[in-house]
Structure formats: structure tokens, C-alpha cells
């Protein structure tokens, strides 16, 4: 439009070009309208015919079998909804009996296999620090009574163990400490991890040699000079949620006065793990292209609300190679076209939220580990037990919009590694990241990201959900805090395994086909 304006700006004073005015002025408008209505009607008739035709054949033209959003939301939303959706049978409801059976394994076998892989069971290695803190209910008022709580909890969680009130939302005024449990993965993950144990190699600088990785967790027992990097690589090769999935993501956010500033934001994402697949067919690489391109994870997210985001669709392909930039595309509803995005633009927070691309909604660590751009020094600064958020078996954790507190929150003692990722380039947004990794699940349970002045900036602690009969961990409810701007984002991801996700559903054409307008 601006180009057109500028071309008009060029018109000069000779007046030999007179731009047009509305041409209908000088034509019999009544006749035009009648003709228009007749022919527009004909066009609408053709459209209607096409609709009827396609409705007739729609059964054979079915897209991904994603349940209606309203149907999913009946089971759980993050705000003011204490329903235990897992306990109520969420997955049994949405999966066919055959699909469900295919996703479940013998629990005892999974426990045994995973304990052999990591070399311990979590309940056996905790209970040594502040042993006076026993399972039971505690309120924030007990912090004085039990000084051991401070010793047991990571600082950012200890701060949030408080009654609700400004400036941050998502505090937990009361918690239930549950006995430490053993977590484990699905049999195929355990088998792949065991099968390829010791095969994944790092180069002399501690960066992964891609060709040496096949499947499973690459470093279930990290050790040696590059132990910190190995722990981070476990996160990057994570088996979180499902290998082919659709997820409904619901978020809202609050300002420092605890007033909501992003209301009822929601999006639907489709994604696949493109390499190292062991649970859902196709196994190994997703397809030939994934193998040739070295694709790792592919996702397409369609935004529906708030209104400014409605119609936008983003696509991200992560590559295995640390030297290959991710591929980011965006369908802009305003422009009505797909644009390639700058893949190196990873440090700004997603619009209005408290999460940046390098950290990710999985609450942890997604920064590309490369010596070429913003390299880091990885160091394990602690290896001990902490009292941290327990995984939710029922799905009843929720955010209370009145008190702005989290409820039905459980804590448990977990064996953790604390990894400090120190940025060696002070032009990066953070000076260091402190990520708390669970030694048994190998996943981060929270993080503290510090700005270049050393101040705690962004932190998070997700309540993950554990599906015991599947051996699957899903994202659950995440709370993301901006400790400088005093801002909070609450998010819930409801993920379903969708075996029929195809390349068509996550490629360039998918952005066009999923466009609403």
C-alpha cells in the first residue's frame, strides 16, 4: 500500500494525471446492483454446490482425527478447574481401546528396565537432607517452623511457596509432600536407551557427533569432563509427550497487579519427533526427508485466540546438527501469506508471554548447543536431592483466578543435577541459566535464567503429568515467571497421541491448508 501511496506522491503540479474516483458514480447504480445480485447469487449457488459435494465425500477425505476443542476443554482447563482429568480417564476416552493398548506396557517391567538404565530408583537415594521434613500437608506458614524446607527447596520455588499476592501469580500457599516415587519410561524408550547405551559420542569440545546417535536417551548416566553437556543433550533428545501428537495449548497471563493481560489464549499444535522414533510408527526416522535433512522435531501451531493472533500459523523444524539453523515459517493472517522467518531470532519472548524460544515451553533448555553462536560453558554445580514439584498422576492441579494461587500442588524429594549454563558471550540475553534436571527422568523440573547484570529474570516450574501405564510424561500445567517485569504466564498443554500425523500435516503446504483466511 505504501508503494502505491508513494507513486501518488510523485504526481506533480501539471495535472495531467487525475486519479480515479468511484466509477459507480456515473453509471445507473440500480441496474448494476440488480445485475450484481443475480450473478453473485449464481456464484454463491456454485459455492453451495461445492459445499454439499464435499460434505458428501468428507468421510473419505478426513483430516487428522483431532477431537473438538470444546470436547477437550470439558476435561480440563488451567484456570479454576480442579477436575482430575487423567484420573477421570482422559486418554481412555480419546484413544480407541486398540490405540490405548498399543501405548501401554507392564508397569513392573518398565520400572525394572529403567532402574537398570539409570542405576537407581529415586526413592532409594533421597531422604538424607532435612530428614525431619516428612510427607504431609504444609502451608507457607510452616516455613518458619521447618527451616529444613529452605535447605530442601530450590530458591525460586521456596520464594513461590507463599500466599497469593502481587507481584507474581502462581504461588502455592499450601503443598502436599508426597513420598518419592520411581518414574520410568515406556518400554521402547528403555529398550532403545539400553540398546544404544555408550554409542553416542561427543567431539573434543563436548558437542554431539550426530551420526553416533540413534535413539533413546543418549546419556542416561552422564559422567566425565562433559557431564553438563551430556545432561543438556538428554533434554534435547527428550521423550516428552508423544512421538506424533496433537495438543491443545491454553494460556493466560497476569501483570504485576495480578490483572489478566492475555485472556484465554489458545492454539492447536501438531508435531512429530522426526528421528529416534521408538514408540509410534514409523520407527527411526519419520520419513526419508527427515533422514536426509537430519530433522529432529517438527511442529505446526495454529493460533486461535487472542484475536490479534487468530489465523496465524507457525512452523518450526529443529535439526539434529548443531550447525544447521532451525527452519521457521509463519503464515501471517494480516498478510495472507507464508513468510520464512529468521531462524536465529530466538531470544525475544513470545508475544506477551514469559517464554523465549531458546528456553521453550517445556520449561528448560532448548538453546542450540553450538560453538559457533553464543557458546556456553556447562557445569554441574550440584548433585543432590531437592524438594520440588511432583508429577501429577491425577491431573487436578489448577490455577485459582480469585486468589491467583496454584492449588492441588504436590512436592516430593527428587535426586537432581543442577547445571549452570554460563554464556560465554555477554551479548546474549542471559548471563547464565541454572537448570534443575531430574536424575531419574533426565528432564528439567525448572530453571532460573539470569540477565547480564546477574539478576534473576525468568524462571519456571512445571507440574508435569505422569501416565504410569504408558510410561509417558506430558507437559501439564506450567507457570512461567518474569521476575524483573513481574509478570506471570500460566499454560496448560493437553496432548494426545495422533498416529495419523503425516508429512502433509507439518510441511510448508500445511500452513497454507490450515489457514483460516
Amino acid at each position: 500500500m505504501n508503494t502505491r501511496i508513494m507513486s501518488t506522491l510523485r504526481s506533480n503540479t501539471n495535472g495531467d494525471n487525475i486519479p480515479a474516483v468511484n466509477t459507480l458514480d456515473h453509471i445507473d447504480i440500480t441496474i448494476i446492483k440488480e445485475l450484481t445480485m443475480k450473478k453473485t447469487g449464481l456464484f454463491i449457488f456454485l459455492m453451495a454446490s461445492m459445499i454439499l459435494f464435499s460434505m458428501a465425500v468428507s468421510q473419505s477425505a478426513a483430516d487428522i482425527n483431532m477431537p473438538d476443542v470444546s470436547e477437550i476443554k470439558k476435561w480440563k482447563v488451567p484456570v479454576d478447574d480442579p477436575k482430575p482429568f487423567i484420573k477421570n480417564g482422559f486418554y481412555k476416552h480419546f484413544l480407541t481401546p486398540e490405540q490405548y493398548k498399543k501405548m501401554t506396557y507392564d508397569i513392573a517391567s518398565m520400572k525394572q528396565a529403567w532402574a537398570q538404565i539409570v542405576g537407581f530408583k529415586a526413592p532409594d537415594v533421597v531422604g538424607k537432607i532435612a530428614p525431619e521434613i516428612k510427607p504431609g500437608k504444609y502451608t507457607y506458614k510452616d516455613k518458619e517452623k521447618y527451616p529444613g524446607l529452605k535447605e530442601l527447596m530450590p530458591p525460586f520455588l521456596y520464594e513461590m511457596f507463599d500466599q497469593g499476592g502481587p507481584p507474581l501469580a502462581g504461588k502455592f500457599p499450601e503443598i502436599t509432600i508426597v513420598p518419592t516415587q520411581q518414574y520410568y519410561y515406556a518400554m521402547p524408550v528403555a529398550e532403545a536407551t539400553k540398546k544404544y547405551a555408550g554409542q553416542t559420542k561427543l567431539d573434543e569440545a563436548g558437542y554431539i557427533i550426530n551420526s553416533s546417535y540413534n535413539a533413546g536417551y543418549p546419556f542416561p548416566r552422564p559422567s566425565g569432563k562433559f557431564k553438563g553437556q551430556q545432561i543438556c543433550y538428554n533434554m534435547q533428545k527428550r521423550y516428552l509427550e508423544f512421538e506424533s501428537f496433537a495438543a491443545l495449548a491454553l494460556t493466560c497471563s497476569y501483570n504485576k497487579n495480578l490483572k489478566p493481560d492475555t485472556m484465554d489464549s489458545w492454539a492447536i499444535s501438531y508435531g512429530v519427533r522426526a528421528s529416534g522414533r521408538v514408540q509410534m510408527e514409523p520407527f527411526g526416522f519419520f520419513d526419508k526427508r527427515a533422514e536426509e535433512q537430519g530433522e529432529d522435531i517438527i511442529s505446526v501451531v495454529s493460533f486461535f485466540a487472542p484475536r490479534d493472533l487468530y489465523g496465524n500459523i507457525s512452523s518450526l523444524t529443529n535439526f539434529i546438527s548443531p550447525h544447521k539453523l532451525d527452519n521457521s515459517l509463519m503464515y501471517f493472517n494480516l498478510l495472507r501469506r507464508v513468510r520464512k522467518m529468521t531462524a536465529s531470532d530466538t531470544q525475544d519472548a513470545f508475544g506477551g508471554t514469559d517464554v523465549d524460544s531458546d528456553t521453550g515451553y517445556f520449561a528448560g533448555f532448548q538453546q542450540k548447543m553450538t560453538p559457533n553462536q553464543f557458546p556456553m560453558e556447562y557445569k554441574v554445580i550440584a548433585e543432590r536431592e531437592y524438594l520440588v514439584l511432583a508429577m501429577d498422576f491425577d491431573g487436578d492441579t489448577y490455577f485459582d483466578s480469585n486468589t491467583k494461587e496454584m492449588h492441588n500442588v504436590r512436592f516430593e524429594r527428587r535426586p537432581l543435577w543442577v547445571v549452570e549454563c554460563k554464556e560465554l558471550d555477554n551479548n546474549y540475553i542471559y548471563s547464565r541459566r541454572v537448570v534443575y534436571f531430574d536424575r531419574e527422568t533426565l528432564l528439567p523440573i525448572g530453571y532460573e535464567n539470569h540477565d547480564q547484570r546477574g539478576r534473576l529474570w525468568r524462571s519456571s516450574a512445571p507440574v508435569r503429568i505422569f501416565l504410569p501405564d504408558m510410561g509417558v510424561i506430558i507437559t501439564g500445567i506450567g507457570t512461567y515467571w518474569d521476575n524483573l517485569d513481574k509478570h506471570t504466564t500460566i499454560g496448560l498443554s493437553l496432548a494426545l497421541p495422533i498416529p495419523e500425523v503425516k508429512r502433509n500435516d507439518v510441511d510448508l503446504g500445511a500452513l497454507i491448508r490450515r489457514s483460516r483466511k
Binding site: 474516483v21 464435499s54 476443542v69
Partner: protein, 508 residues
Amino acid sequence: MMSNNRILAGTSVMIGMFVLLTCSTATAKYVKLFGKECNVLGYASQKVQYGFHDDFNSYEGFNEALNTLFLEGDIGLTDSLRLYGSGKLTSDLIYQVIQDEDQWTRKQFDQSRDKLNIDDEYWQILNELHATWVVDRLMIRAGKQIVSWGQVLGASALSQFNPFDLRRFQGVDLEVAQIPIWLLRTDYSMPVKPGFLTDLTLQFVFNPNADFIPSQSFATGNDVAGIWALHLPVELFPGMVARTGSAAMNIQEREEWSEGHEFGFRVQGMTEGGDMMTLNAFYGYANDPVTILDGLATMASPPSFVDGKTVIHPVMDGYYPLQRFVGFTYFTEILPLRFSFAGGVAPAVTFELRYDFENTYAFANPADPFGLMYMEDTSDAVSAILNVDYKVKIALLNPKAYFQFVGQLNYDQIMDSFVRSQQLNFRGYPANYTTSLQVMTTYLHGKLMPLFTWQRDLYAQTDMFGGSLDYSPNSRWTYSVALQTFRNMDGPFEYKDYVYFKIKYKWG
């Protein structure tokens, strides 16, 4: 024009839906329609504009009070079939507010009320309405819609199908500046592709000319174009300058359905290295007419009361000429220019090229000493755009968010030297270069967004500066203030400088 009753009825329905959507629990949710989920969203905005200049074509003081009510929604009828529709009601209440003011009526701005008070054509109220059918790799979309080509951030030279609404300059929201028209569009992802490509999609677009809707362009004459009437003084004789008033237009249009069909074809691919490219081809018609001066009618009646100058009202004949072009776009990231001290984001470069075959141009016959006899001729033409997006960290000014710089260089060239020489006074400088620069960032957790824009025509040495500040305390409300100034060398937008305030409420 619609009758008052129909306008009233339409307004009532829109207001009713607004109240329903903003006051009910359905806000920010979807509703069930025929047992299917239907997303319903929209916004309402009110803008008040203040002009700085008192001139023949300008009004000093509050001169625009534009409001827009926009509703949209989509529904999935089956797994493979979706419907999308949107409607809007745009009106400028300034015509009600200052209808009897002396300056306003003497300059005949009040007479533009029929054009600009309420957008009441059916195609203005019914914004989009289309059905999308998706099966496997194929998408078919039919209905009133927008098809946008190009890759630059903003208007592309390749976006040809949809006309633009520029009657109020940049007064309307960007998303309603393009006018949806009745189109049939198909997109198909190729299962087989050349080895160097990872994705390959084909697009075919057909315009059956079901209802011809031209661009709503800038115009002359306060009685037609209101405060946006172009400032075009004409030197009739040495020392005697006249004003250009509204033109009587006699524009031929092609018969709907049977004539004026348009076709477009696009191939879009992505390389293994992540670069994106398209090849485009278009056969159709211009959205703006080529016009030829048919005669002059001069008037010294009411407008002359402003400054005593004669006002000429030209009579123009014209038509929408054939337009055929091929195009090419390419996007790449310049990784060597990814400097960590600047934040580590690589600049993204987009290049667009459009080559037109035998475009039609009209101009005053050089053999006519009075410049009243017009002629037309054809020439090939080329347009190119080089666009650079660069996100840069300037920690001193904003330690928490990047600055985004978008620079663009536009180049236009008419290939035929005779046509070019006769077009010197309008579009056909030996080569037209236009540059633009946009700078933006965010503060307060993305709530405050300052934006600065500068456009410059290097040949004509005209500039347009703009600055805006948007404050969005939450996802529902946005408050904006913007300032636009022109350094236009007595050109069409001279004396149009303005500042506006705008409030927008969104739901969905």
C-alpha cells in the same frame, strides 16, 4: 446507496452482536452452530484525527472520526470443509459532528458525505465469505477472499488480485485495506520435487469476474474525496494557478462473468538450505483505470470562496487495461552478517521481481501545446523490491527486546523510452526509486510498541514520516497515537499532516 432503513438495520445487527459478544460468557470462546464449533472474533475501533493545516484541500482541526466494527468467524462443517466469513461496518462520524461548520461546508467537505460517511456497499459490509475444502495435499477455496503474493513484509508488487481501499489514506486498519473479491483458488503440495527442494507447492487462482470491484483510489475534489482530496494545483497560464476539483469519470468495465477473467499461477518452493522462492505468472486486468482527459469544465462557484482560485473539473474517460506479468521472489538469511554484538540475529533478505508485458499508459500528447489531447501507448515495465529485515539488540535503549529494522528499496522502470519520456511527470522517471525504513521495538513486556516509518522518493525528493505508539495493556484493548507528516514539495499530500488517537477493543 442503501436506504436508511437498511443501514439502520445493519447497524443494529452489528451493535447487537457486539453487545452479545462482549457482555456474554461467549466472549473469548467459541460457540456451537449446527452442532459444530464456530470461532467468533472481532474488534471495534474508534479513531479521532486532527489536521494541522488550513488549505483548500485540508481542514485544520478534528477532521475524521472513523469507527470500524469488524466481526469474523469460522466453522468446520466436516473434517475437510471449513467456512470463514467476516463483515465490517465502517463509518466516519465527523460528518455528523461538524456538518454545519463554516470551513467544512465552504470547502465542500460536507458533500463527500455520500462517499465517506458510511461504507454501505454490500462488498464493503460483507468483507470475506469463503469455503475451504482440504483433502490430503489439495486445498480448494472459493468465495470472496484475499489472495496475496510476495514475501516482503508489507505490500508486494506481486499482490495483484485484490484491489486496495486507499480513500482514507492509511486510516483504515491494514487488515481491511485490501478488498476481498470473488475468487476460486487451489493449492497443491507436490509429492515429488526436484532434489534441491524440500517443499514444492502449486497455486492456481481464477477470478471469474463475478462482481467487478476496482481499487478505491486517491481522488481529487473535496466533494468526493473529503479531507483526503489530492492537492493538485494546475498552472493554466503563467501566473494563473487553478485547483483541481472532482473529476467526472467515464470508466468502462468488463461484463461480469463473461469478460474480465483473471488467472494466476504460482510455484512456491523451499530449498534444502532453508531459502524460499516463488515463480509467479498473472494474466488479468489492472485494478486502477488508465484514464484520458476528455474535456475540462471550469467552475468558480463555491470552492473559489476559499482562496479565489479557479477550480477545474476534468472529464476523464478510461478503462481497466490488460495486465500480464511474471514474477520471482527469493528469501534468504545472510548468516555471515549474524553478529553476536548486535544480538546474533541474521538479517533476512527478500528480493521480488515483476516484469510486466505491454502495460498501457496514458499521457498528454507531446504534439499538443496545450496538453489537452491525450494518447495512450504500451510498454513493458519492471518492478523490483529489495527488502531487509534485521533484528538488532541495542541494550542501552532496550535491554529486554530487540529493535526490528525493515528497510526496503523499490525500483520501477518503464522499458519503452518514448513512453517513459512522456511519463516523466507521473510514474515514469528514468527509473523510480523509493526507499522506506521502519523501526520498531517493544517495552513494558510487549505492551508498548513505538514504531517509526520513513518513506522517500529519491527522484521526486518527497518524504513521508510517521510515528506511532501503541499501548496494549491486555489482549483486549489497544490505545494508539500516531503522527504523520509529509514533505511533499507542493505535491498531492501537501498540507495533509495529522495526528490521530485511536482506541480498539478486541474479542475472541
